[in-house]
Symmetry: C2
Subunit: 141 residues, 2 copies
Amino acid sequence: MKKEDIYSIREFDRFYMTVLRLTDKYHLHTHFTILESRLLLEINRGNNTANQLLKVLKLDKGYISRVLKKLENEQLITKQTAESDLRIKVLALTPSGKTALKEIDRRADEQISDLFKDVDSTDIAQIIAAMQKIQTELSKD
Amino acid sequence: MKKEDIYSIREFDRFYMTVLRLTDKYHLHTHFTILESRLLLEINRGNNTANQLLKVLKLDKGYISRVLKKLENEQLITKQTAESDLRIKVLALTPSGKTALKEIDRRADEQISDLFKDVDSTDIAQIIAAMQKIQTELSKD
DNA sequence: GAAATTGGTTGCTTTTGTCAACCATTGGAG
DNA sequence: CTCCAATGGTTGACAAAAGCAACCAATTTC
């Protein structure tokens, strides 16, 4: 791999790290942490066991377990032991969990809209294409 | 901004956040934290006051100040009060700071090479173009 | 020359994350 | 069938990352 390619990628990574940190501020207006929001989102889209969540998020299982417990205590999710395998607990959003997720989504969407407010629509289309390119290339393995 | 565009961008952001978290593991082989590495790098490229650093990194000034102090204690950087303005302290890498940065760079480069080891070179070129597109569009304002 | 601003430091707290030990259940090899 | 390794999840202890607010000294503004 070429030296200057590595340089460019590291440059982008540094840049995008600060973008992401700023973008994540959406949760400050809610009473959720970033990870709590992320967990609600992932559970809702079907990653509904602790094990799946830690694979998607690549975080420590102890950490995930703790935050899930907090969400359960706040009655945003339920845990139900799977019949097929008693070790597995299937997670689901409660009605108030779904409401919370909608609010979180709204804020996150707002944040993105705001970040892109000065980018014109043909450029947005190109950026999205660029993002998808990056994502598919780095996902396949 | 279109609903599905926002969706795509958020999808990418989630994806790239985990990529970055993994990539950042390079620092585990050194005894530096991510931020310490980043500070050495930014000081070296000329962002050599606390104030410039916090603008680039968009982090809390208290936090930056503390980490800089640690770097100073470890004799990786020096602070020297600017003559033109006694509030400003000009930062510089010591020789061992430069050595440390070289080692960090080497590890980080390795990490990137590794991440892209299965991506072929025409795809790499496209990814880099994509990254640069994203970066320039989001930087101009 | 007083008042507001700026660059930086410090005390305190919260958020985020790791590591290791552990328990119960399950799947597989002999 | 039984022992045993692997799996899913929980808990305790702790370290790393980051923010907030109050503050000091130098500087600028008016």
